[in-house]
Symmetry: C2
Subunit: 418 residues, 2 copies
Amino acid sequence: MSTAVSPLAPTDVPEMPAIAGVRLATAAAGIRYKGRTDVLLAVMDKGTTVAGVFTRSKCPSAPVEWCRARLGGGSSKAGFARALVVNSGNANAFTGKSGRQATTLTAAIAAKAVGCTPNEVYLASTGVIGEPLDATKFDGVLATLAASAAPDDWMNAARAIMTTDTFPKVATATVRLGKADVTINGIAKGAGMIAPDMATMLSFVFTDAPLSPAVLQSLLRSGVEDTFNAVTIDSDTSTSDTLLAFATGAAAAHGAPKITRASDVRLKAFTRAFRHVLADLAEQVARDGEGARKLVEIIVEGATTKTSARRIAMSVANSPLVKTAIAGEDANWGRVVMAVGKAGEPANRDRLSISFNGIRVAKSGARDPSYNEAEVSEVMKSPKIQIRIGLGLGKGRDRVLTCDLTKEYVAINGDYRS
Amino acid sequence: MSTAVSPLAPTDVPEMPAIAGVRLATAAAGIRYKGRTDVLLAVMDKGTTVAGVFTRSKCPSAPVEWCRARLGGGSSKAGFARALVVNSGNANAFTGKSGRQATTLTAAIAAKAVGCTPNEVYLASTGVIGEPLDATKFDGVLATLAASAAPDDWMNAARAIMTTDTFPKVATATVRLGKADVTINGIAKGAGMIAPDMATMLSFVFTDAPLSPAVLQSLLRSGVEDTFNAVTIDSDTSTSDTLLAFATGAAAAHGAPKITRASDVRLKAFTRAFRHVLADLAEQVARDGEGARKLVEIIVEGATTKTSARRIAMSVANSPLVKTAIAGEDANWGRVVMAVGKAGEPANRDRLSISFNGIRVAKSGARDPSYNEAEVSEVMKSPKIQIRIGLGLGKGRDRVLTCDLTKEYVAINGDYRS
């Protein structure tokens, strides 16, 4: 397993301000790791709303099913949350009946510790798949955490949810909502692989803005589209991917209006800031892809639609041949053509243009007449590679982030037993 | 580039008999490689029928477009072939107008050398994409080859079409058709960019059976479904995938009936043998996947339909996390669950069972109670890994072949042009 921090880690880590109504605490519960924290408890004030988006896997983990059921309603507390419990080291996925029992028990322990109902407790787990999670390990631990939780523990929170991530991922924004400044804080963990089990993306975003559950859900659903949903590391999808957002509403006390309609014009700046936080976290996930040495941005323009542009961009971003070429600092645009062609979307070979970091290598279905191998080779040494693909068919445009595919990726994921 | 022969190469290479009406010759035309053959000419007798299936890439190579246009008709010679020219080293793909000119010129040179019309010439190219192919290099070479072509040059033919392949791929079958023995010979090249549909980079099958063009096309189309289309190396699909079949009809002279309907019952044994040749070649392609150290067979049972089973099997076969786990000899069934879940097909986590080489590791949505890590680790050392997935939903079943994902794959594809 690689332990060195990714060379693509951001150099500029923000100070994370407190968010009124949110308190955090972490502990080492000994789920799997030794000598590091592996449990995060977030305690939210009464009235905190919650929204979530989850993996599209047909085999989701027990915590994903737990959260979906809580959000789905039935309970009078649907849309409201008082606690979030996240553990790393064990994903509680594919654990059958014992997995469901573990979520029920964890929620009961957390509810007692925080003083709420289990329906107000949200759960996420990341780590090994298929190993039963012993939820009794949370007994005692969560009560201690609830008592010690503090508003300024964001970096420790980001650290406690890591698996093979090489750096903690945080982002923050402060923005005007009505007459008040409101804050948005987010933490994430990415597709890092722990002694080779499940990569999972977990992200939790908190704000003191007063937003109804429906507004928060709408913000989240539209916000992920061009951020978390536009990042791919290796085309594999975790059974546990979870993004939850919590809004305490505490800013209402100093003048922020209560927003109950997603179309409310007062939400405009907030929406932009919210997306910025999601985009920042999503990019950090790409920067910490397993074995990644290069951040790769794929821009597709001139597609028939945005959806078509996304599919083509994803086809390029997930192509092992494109990704290995980038690892080899080779501007192999033939492989880009291949990946465009296999996407199955409208494409006219003879209109295709491709550039790497601003240098056009192909146009109108053939090598660019001005192509200069030395010049292109030089830009391929950059830690950030932008591939721009022009289809020349319409106005559809999209952007996807990924990373290169290195021997280190294979080592991290394949050297388990050797 | 790796030069060692794949450890998965077949130990048992068949003697390739002659096929009446087919003559072969190879040469070193200096397309790209030094010190090896890179052009194959196959000359067929008059009356030889032809059929083909090709890549579904939206950006096909010039030779693919050439063959499609010849097969598509218009010409009175549609469905009949006298020559096949294959070169390795340059794919003549994404070469624009000059690519089309290169195919026209190559066909003209071959037609003159063989004594036929250009519409009876079929072409295939493999190698680098986006570099202009200098077809004048074939001038002279093809006339010499036409003069020296011989019926027994099958191994050399298979060698001349290789790129990163580590061994030549040949297969043969002899079967009764009416009162005569007829022969089917096939050659193929594979290595990377092998994913459906159609999953061969290049393959050519020849027989002396008297089959109409429509019958040959029908045999080919149904034959690829569970053979070449059920093989994937890295999920990438070439712009050049080409499978052509040629039937000289020479066996009619010693009693084989002319078959003009695909439903003809006399074709039964032949159909089986034909598929066997395709399956043999397709498996050799999987055995020679770039960097492959293990042949991997994915069997999905109990899916709602065969199509659904295929999609799930492909999702598992193309998962980098599954493939790296197998490279690491790790029976990581959690990753198999992940890959089943991301396929988007009907799956019920709590009915899922998974076994590796006959040892069940998961059942009913949880680890098999009899799971024994040492026993499973032992079978993972085998060069052939069979993953059997039971969905417990219906009767849909399918099978896909792939290989593991090793550091060698990254090395081959990260250092290809450098």
